[in-house]
Symmetry: D2
Subunit: 342 residues, 4 copies
């Protein structure tokens, strides 16, 4: 029967997780639902002894080199802060591990390119964690595009608004809204359309919290994308949508339009003398993308097994960063910025 439950017969993959912050724990929880993957060790500089019991994992270490030195481990998940990604990637590649790395792949262009070089030389698999590529709603848009239902692509629209701003401490170390938040949308712009962006124009402002402005960042933006093939797109961002996480994408073409709407807490409506009220969109990414996070890992392990190509490559990671950098430059200069000039 379609959609039935079965136990996989795939070869077991032994892995290590480096970094057990919020996203590390998300992946840990999802891994328990994935067949034939064994978590050999967990690494975190704040690791505690009782994690052996808490996570039911025998090897709890504080130094990631211990993970890389473990010859039983075939692949690692790098879930540490962004500035650590390039060096860890280099070390993991040298150790011959396949690598799943959280986004973005790094902050510094030179370091990123060194890491890319190390990955290429080592010939290991490398996947960037752009989870939204694995959202089933957005995936349907790509289905429609690939099967020709949309015809020639003309307009892309991405709405991407967080329910609440991060802490000011987070803001200060985030790399700015484009590198921290819009980077997902830049990746989606490429993923959804299958096309490359040529130029960007940005208008942005501080409309939610003056502290964000004092930290040199903005909280609200509209980014116009001009693609190489002539099509165009627009992303609108806000750090605070009081009604919840707002994640919609629309691709318009000569033969039709595909539109992915928000996912709500339930399908239940309440009709009263006042209105017909439905539930809000899911609160934030942990709710909305929980299933996508799981599918993301499943896809990574499929790539590790050689069943298919890596779905989100190092180059994808770099291109999203370039777009974020171009957006920042456009905001700073007030002018259109060509991505190849970054």
């Amino acid at each position: 029967m379609k959609g039935g439950i079965h136990m996989s017969n795939d070869k077991k993959i032994t892995i290590g997780i480096i970094g057990m912050g919020r996203i590390g724990n998300v992946h840990f929880k999802n891994l328990r639902q994935i067949d034939n993957v064994k978590i050999e060790s967990i690494c975190d500089i704040l690791a505690k002894d009782d994690w052996v019991e808490k996570y039911s994992v025998k090897k709890i270490v504080k130094d990631y080199h211990e993970v890389l030195d473990d010859s039983d481990i075939q692949a690692v998940l790098i879930c540490t802060p962004t500035d650590l990604h390039p060096q860890m990637t280099i070390d993991a590649a040298k150790a011959g591990k396949d690598i799943f790395c959280e986004k973005p792949v790094g902050f510094d262009n030179a370091e990123i390119l060194k890491a890319l070089d190390a990955v290429k030389k080592a010939g290991v698999k490398f996947e960037v964690g752009f989870n939204r590529r694995f959202d089933k709603n957005f995936d349907r848009i790509v289905d429609y595009r690939k099967n020709g239902s949309l015809g020639n692509e003309q307009i892309l629209k991405i709405t991407s608004r967080d329910p609440e701003p991060p802490s000011m401490d987070y803001v200060r170390h985030s790399g700015g809204i484009f590198m921290d938040m819009t980077i997902h949308d830049f990746d989606m712009a490429r993923f959804i359309t299958g096309e490359e962006v040529d130029r960007v124009f940005v208008t942005g402002n501080v409309m939610i919290n003056d502290e964000i402005g004092k930290a040199g960042d903005i909280d609200t933006a509209i980014i116009t994308l001009m693609f190489k093939n002539g099509m165009m797109g627009v992303i609108d961002n806000s750090r605070q949508a009081v009604y919840g996480y707002d994640q919609r994408i629309e691709l318009f073409g000569s033969k039709g339009m595909a539109h992915a709407d928000n996912v709500t807490d339930s399908t239940t409506t309440y009709s009263s003398k006042d209105n017909v009220a439905g539930d809000k969109p899911m609160f934030f990414f942990l709710q909305r993308y929980m299933d996508a996070y799981k599918r993301e890992l499943e896809s990574f392990f499929g790539a590790v097994r050689g069943e298919h190509e890596v779905q989100c490559t190092f180059e994808d990671g770099i291109r999203a960063i370039r777009l974020a950098q171009a957006a920042k430059k456009s905001l700073d200069t007030g002018a259109v910025v060509s991505v190849q000039d970054i």
Copy 2:
């Protein structure tokens, strides 16, 4: 009972219609549903004798001066081609008629200002026909803004796509996409937000029909709006949405978001082994805005009777034209254009 049927006791207004093309006929049909308005005469350079019977109107004339000379007539509807609007407005104002004029109020800035001057001097009422202001869905957004439900405005989004391009002959005399099509969206940007636009940035292209490009126009555009109060907006336009007239507006603020979706041919869905299919959006403006056209005239007559202010003034008409001109300049220069520099 709420919403009941009643016959109005308002004083009768006697009017003349100048121009009986498509929009003139739309207004004629709606006028038959409006109480206490008498159509005294109809003017069109192509008027025929049998129109007396066809329209059940006694005076059918070819020269609009005959309408203006008729002392029984209190107000006129100017429904002729755009280039005739300024002179007819001047003449009607001098004749002391209240004026409803189709959009745009003119093409030439100097002529437009002369007409404005004539209207001011004559002290007659003047309303521009931006019908979308009277769409009940868009009106709801304004309700939410005015009653404080949205908090501080931050992002405006307007989707405006026609179902099919006009004839090439129409395109050549249209004044270009911004003056012909986007002008409605520019007016809505001001009406929905209650704010003024400071700068615009446009990216546009020919993606539907090369002939449109040869005529010096484009058919697809994304227009970024930077408002004086710091908020921002985006309009996306296409001359051809195969699924029908796409008219959506969304206003996002610190306390919430109001979103007006398309109006479809029916509320009926068909669930089959393939999908759950609903009807398309209404075909085009004559379907979607038929009720708005009627409410527009009712509002004009309310203003003529002195019951309320004119809802869409001459200045509104001029400001929309300025935005269209700024958009054209941005498209031509590839740069951000300040509206006050137009």
Copy 3:
């Protein structure tokens, strides 16, 4: 252009309206939008002199025989209380007038059959005013059925709830909920499915207003329909839905399901920290079915002109009454009632 505005060239039909209560005024207002129909006279026992000006109709009379005696009048609209329908129908038929009669065609079976006989003998056109047959949403369901999209019909579901109960005075003279309110749903059950009902089972109660119970009526009911072809259906009725007029129909078959949802006041939603709120369904029948009332008359005049058959016949009117009577008997007996036994 599709959906364009045009003036009809059909032959003019001269009519009289008998009864200017609420529904008579609804029809009057709609008639002003219909080409080539002339209202020659209006009849109401409470008619006043100033109606000549109020309605712009020359002949205002109090005795309906004056309308029937007018040889210029080709068709009449009977909009009087139900108990007057049969005799007026007989008189109008004898006078050779085509007849549009509001529902139900009468209360008393013997009188109704006499009226049917008179109509048959006179050979005049007769249409019953079941306005919902002309609702575009419900019509779409019939489209899907007729074009085979639904396959074999299996389950019909009708939700039909009024926003507020009528006055107690109205309730006492209404003929009971089945004859007054459900009669529309009985007609829809036949219209939507194209099939005849064999048996009914009813459960009902007084849940809204005890006064309704004291008047010998109920205000809430579920009616199960067993059709001759084996399919089944259910109607649920309430005299009070606080969220507005609830009018939904669903037809389920072997190849798919068509579902007509409510029509709301607007397509605009408001997303806030509490929920995503849309507007309520339209308030009541005058709002929801205004367009259907107009299409109903247009269809009647098409039948008068011989362009097509009468869309809702005398027999349709009788069959709906039989179903209402069977429902009442089922409620009273608590048993299944065969319609042919009524």
Copy 4:
């Protein structure tokens, strides 16, 4: 942060699963996501040696007494065919195990009462597996009822249609549509309203597959529910909805209506020249209720830990069976059946 990921510190519960058919595997998969539950042994008469590796569970047995004899095991999940439920329940209760038992609790009334008696005597926890009680959409309706938003309950509507009929072999051993399929809806009728059903009336037929009729069963039904408090309800069932699993519930009361719509495969729509098409409802119960199955187990373990009452008791299981039996009698007799007479 709301909805964040955390590892529970609850005391570990050791369990055994009896019966590893389809639903046994569903529970097994969900158990891997639930903290602090250890699957000590798995029992199935068809168990194979390689299940030790397949399920990573050490004790794989064929005789369920081995599970009951294991003093390490605190609770068992009974996932065997219905006719085995009563005896296994009795044995498990005697062994002092807390019991989660799939629905229905049995076929034979005498056996069921014996099992109930055994559970009471043993004082063990017993929960019936009515998974739909844990669907978040239906749960929202109960929220609205409990917080007073609906006022006095008046009408309940349940639509419950399977995407495809089961195998004829399954049909023959299912106990009939009411015991196999509608039993869920009967439980929901009680759960959603919080009220008890007094009488039922059923109309049903074979409309999908004649073989089902030859097996003495039906495949399409409408069940009217008359509640003790005067409110009324209706369930409509079909064994085959080509568009997928159709699971909707609506509760209408004096202050408003709560309506839980289907859950679709995605939120993505495709607008083309033909229509605006959305994805179908999820295929069947394994897709639609996967999350509910997990929440169901979490709730059971919560009850085992004493954190709250059992959410779906033995009595709930019996009452649903009584309703199924009353429905069968109504179908057979064509008459209204009082539930207390069963």
